[in-house]
Symmetry: C2
Subunit: 143 residues, 2 copies
């Protein structure tokens, strides 16, 4: 997070995964419904993002997500309509939990970068809000 | 797979994930209980494996796993007690499904390498078989 944004948007949190290190390398693990408050139905892996490109730029009505940077680094802007934070992800043992009804944008991808996202729901086009003004209306922040 | 092992061990299969490519990069996705025959309870991420090290070397009694190489490459040896295959994983849009009661060993890790594993169960020490002879007995192949 940037220093002038000490508080995360509502429900957003960083999850640090337990990590076992021994002579065979490092193993970090996460558990759904325990440390992470949803079941994983779908995952997606993003790579080969061109320099300067951004991804996301929407909110989900019902889908929970967890974003991890497995290799390289990227930045995630998360916004609940009232509070916004810009978070650097640059290690595989840290995840960013993004609850439903949170606007997020990903940018600043390194080359290479391997981004992993877990989702609580299968893909559903109707679950997306692509317009920020509509997002604020649905949140009850603007009319 | 090596050319002299055309058939995979029982139940083992490679899963190719659908991949969307556009001006923002590549996105490959997988779905649990649809393309992948289990729900994901746990995931782990392996990195910083020293040159020459191997991991795994056990079978699970009940746990299903899916192994993906998100960055770099590694080899996975899978063995059902009768048939063995040595599989190269080197791209994020391909996963190796490893059913319960399959012996597996991972080696040949590149530096760097980011390995991702999905598991159907939480960690349970009693689910592991660490002795290959015992594995064959439990499988009913040896007495």
């Amino acid at each position: 997070m940037t220093p002038d944004q000490p508080a995360l948007p509502a429900g957003v949190r960083l999850v640090t995964f337990p990590c076992h290190i021994d002579g065979r390398g490092s193993l970090a693990f996460g558990e759904f419904t325990r440390l992470i408050p949803f079941e994983c139905r779908r995952f997606f892996m993003v790579h080969d993002v061109p320099a300067g490109a951004s991804r996301g730029g929407h909110a989900h009505r019902t889908c929970h997500q967890l974003i991890i940077c497995m290799s390289g680094h990227l930045r995630v802007e998360v916004d609940d309509g009232r509070r916004r934070a810009d978070i650097l992800l640059d290690r595989p043992d840290m995840g960013l939990y993004v609850p439903p009804m949170t606007w997020d944008v990903q940018r600043g991808y390194s080359d290479p970068c391997a981004q992993l996202v877990f989702a609580s729901h299968f893909y559903d086009a109707d679950d997306y809000i692509h317009d920020y003004s509509e997002f604020l209306v649905v949140k009850g922040i603007r009319q």
